[in-house]
Each structure stands twice: as C-alpha cells, then as structure tokens.
C-alpha cells in the first residue's frame, strides 16, 4: 500500500507566485498543506491539476480562483472573491468569506461554513454556492446559471436582475432585488437542495423548508413603450 505524502508549502518561506508555481508542478492526486497564509491573496489560483489543498489559516482575496480541478479547503476566513471564476473542483471555507464569494464561477462548488458578505454569488455562471450562515446585500446579483443555497438569512436586494440561476434560502430574506420573485418549491427543488446539502455537508437545513427565489423575467426584453409619455 502506498501512503500519499503531503507536500508542505509555507508562505513564511515562499512568495505567492512560488507557492502557485509549486502547486502547478504537482501530479494529480497530490495532497498539499499551505501553512502560514497570513491573509495572503491569490493562493491556489489558476490550477488545472486535481490536487487536495489545505490552507491552514486565514487567507486573502481570490483564494482558489480560476481553478479547473483542485479541491481547496481554507481552515480560517477569507477575503473577497473566494472561488472566483471556478471552472471545476471545489472550495471550502471553514470560517467566514468576505464579499463576492464564487463570483462568476462556472462549475464545481464553493462552500462557506460561516457567513458570506455582500454580493455572494454575483454573476454566477453555473457553479453551486452553498453558504451555511447568512449572506450580505446584493447576493446573487445578475447570476446567470447555477444554484445558490443560503442556510441562514439573506441581506437586502437578493437576486437583483437574476437570469437563470436559482437561489434557495432557509432563513429570512431582508428584501428581494429587482425582478427577483419567490416561487413555489417543487419536488425537483427539494431534490436539488438535498443534493447541495449533502455535497456541502450541511445538516442544519431542511430541504423542504427553503424558499425558492428566481427571475420574474420582466427585465429580459426591453419594452420600448414602457413609461412613454409622448
């Protein structure tokens, strides 16, 4: 039996560029510990190899962004735009995430075990964002495809200018944004929420008790005569 060795990369000794270059050079299946992140930005960015990366502490902006493959876990909190533009793979934040979590993410899943700040899931393009706690204002803004699950409460203007993405909220919604509306949940929705809860490993949300927020599609077409006075 072969025991996988764990590669350790210390931000105390390496620059962010050196850490990312080292990560790019590792074979699929490698396990990596990134130590002393100390709020550094851009750790584990732009990787297409299937790594298992553990960032052991609080990290900065764009963690796990632009990735197509690795599973990144942050044992701490992160700054803006965790998992930004993720194509596949996963990002998991054990603490809170600041603004724009999973911004423009196309695939994979981004899980925030704490709260996420404003604009969570902004411009989501097909990925799944699961937040155990609350999200801030303007979350799901202009989200085009994919799913957002909010285990806690949502801030104001949720789902403003939504396209085809769907948002599920377990808690309270401060207010809906333009063109976002509450819809009845179907058995397919319950199934989808169960799938996300399982993937996110959340056990505090009941799939039957979420609210579904989707686009009313009133902004899809420009009405040349709307509000015309002359």
């Amino acid at each position: 039996m072969v025991t996988a060795t764990v590669v350790e990369l210390s931000c105390g000794e390496l620059s962010v560029s050196e850490v990312n270059a080292a990560l790019r050079g590792l074979p699929d299946g490698a396990q990596v510990r990134i130590t002393e992140p100390r709020g550094r930005h851009n750790l584990s960015v732009g990787l297409s190899n299937k790594l298992s990366i553990s960032i052991e502490g609080n990290a900065g902006y764009f963690i796990g962004g632009l990735c197509d493959g690795p599973d990144v876990v942050v044992d701490g909190f992160v700054g803006w735009s965790v998992g930004e533009n993720l194509m596949s793979g996963s990002g998991r934040v054990r603490g809170n995430a600041s603004e724009c979590a999973a911004a423009s993410a196309h695939g994979g899943i981004v899980v925030v075990e704490g709260d996420a700040s404003s604009r969570a899931g902004i411009s989501l393009k097909g990925s799944t964002l699961a937040v155990a706690g609350d999200v801030g204002h303007m979350s799901g803004f202009m989200a085009q495809a994919g799913t957002i699950l909010i285990g806690g409460d949502a801030g104001s203007a949720l789902g403003d200018s939504l396209y085809e993405a769907v948002i599920y909220v377990a808690g309270k919604i401060a207010s809906l944004g333009s063109d976002a509306r509450l819809e009845e949940i179907s058995s397919d929705d319950v199934e989808e929420v169960r799938r996300i809860l399982q993937a996110a490993r959340f056990d505090h949300v009941s799939a039957e008790d979420v609210k579904r927020v989707a686009s009313a599609k009133q902004l899809y077409n420009f009405d040349a005569l709307k509000d015309q006075k002359y």
Partner: protein
Amino acid sequence: MCGIAGLLLKNEDLQPLLGKLMVPMLDHLTSRGPDSAGIAIYDRDLEPGELKYSLSAPAELDWDSLEPPLAEELGTEVRLERRGRQAVCVTTASNDEMKHALGNVAPGVRLFGYGRALELYKDVGSPLEVCGAYGIANRSGYAAIGHTRMATESAVTTEHSHPFAGGCDISLVHNGSFSNYASIRRDLAAEGVECDTDNDSEVAARYIAREMAGGGDLKDALYGVMRTFDGFFTLLVAAEDSIAVVRDASACKPLVVAETPEYVAVASEYVALTDLPGIEEARVFEPQPEEIFTW
C-alpha cells in the same frame, strides 16, 4: 483603490511601538495605493496650552532659519523640529495666528494639520519610502491613521495625499470617491470653511470638523457625511480622543476590523493586520454598510 489603516493602542506599553506597528500595515497596502502615502500620528507630548503644527515646504527649506522670524511674527516662542521635508512647530499660538504668520514670513510653507496630539506626514512615494523619509517607525503615540493612495479624483502631489486634517486634531483617510463634493465645498466656503486643495476627501475632513465644531461628536459628524455626501467611501477618521469608521450604503470599498484588549486595528485588507501582536486571538469582523463604529 487606495488603502487605509489605523491603530488605537489601548495598552500603554504598546504606545512606544506605534510607528513600528503602523509601517508594515501601510507597506502591506502598497499595491492598493503606490502613488503617495501619509500618516496622522496622535501623541500627547505637549505642555498645557501648546499646540503642534505640521508644516511642509515645497522645496528644500532651511527650517532653522524660519524659527526666529516665525517667533517674532507670532510674538511667542516656537520650537521647530525637522522631520524629512516637513517640520513640527510647537507653540501656544492659535491656528489663525499661525496661518497669518506663515503667510507673512514663509508663504510657501503649507500647514497640513494641527492639534494638541496630531502630527501629520504625507508625501509622494511608496509607503515604505514615505515612512522612511519621515522616521515613522520610531514614533510613539496612542493612535494613528494612515493611507496609501491610488489617485482618481485629483493630482498626485504631496498636498493631495492623505490624511487630510479638517480642524484641530481631526484627520481623515478615505478609500473611494465622492461625486457631489464640489457643491458641498461651495456650501462650506459660504460659511467661511475653506479647503486648501481641490481634493474630494479634504471636503469630507472639513465637513466633519465643521460638524464637530458645532458641538457634535465623531459619530454625529459621520451621520452627517452619510446624509450629505454622495459616492463610494470607506472612511477612517480620528479625533483627539476617538477613531471612527464608516462604509457607504453599497459597501464597495473593503474594511476589516480587529479588536483585542490591547488595541483596535482597522485596515482595507486583513493582510495588513497580520503582523500585529496577538492578531490570532483578535475578534476580526467587517463593518456592515452605513454602520458607524467609534472607539
């Protein structure tokens, strides 16, 4: 962009280290603002009745030669201490007297700020260059606010750098941009409150000082800013006995706060706080939009 950082040291044992703690905070924010940098330091090191004036000369100036004519013009003693291209002048003269005297004996010298505790240093260059030129790492004090600037609304010059002092012991740093500052500046001018530059952030500093001169505290003044100013802002403001932060309604500009029993530290990005002692045990959070914090 722009970066902001501030520190309020509750533990007096840390106060001799104020500059040493602030320099790396600003250095971490270089990428947010490489154009210019500045810092307002609060240190109570004067005799009762004295004020300190932070003076800046546009070119090389023999500060020693300025001391006798300035003292004569003011009709009182002055102590000038040179720091880089700036000097701190300690005297019992009032702000109006100082402005008048400088106009007569050294018209090129600019007054960046004054107060019982405030000293204000700023210049073009990276945070490390500016902090090095003004010996910031060796400075003590109980509070400081600093800025790294990426200019958007006005020119990259020493005078357009932050912090801006709005009045006695009141200083401000700003990440963002105001859109209606020209009309507010006109309103202030009509009341006799003049700005030294065409910078948007200076208007907010003058506005806050005007509000506080009218009897409000820092929190009242920041409520006034939210009512009056339009634009994007995360503001960090200091007065003699408090510091405060506020973010605009859309919270476009970041802010992270770290609180421990020893200090309150704030910065645009958490990375700027990571060299502080005991940061691992700090309560770290982000202020909500339009949520004013004062310490």
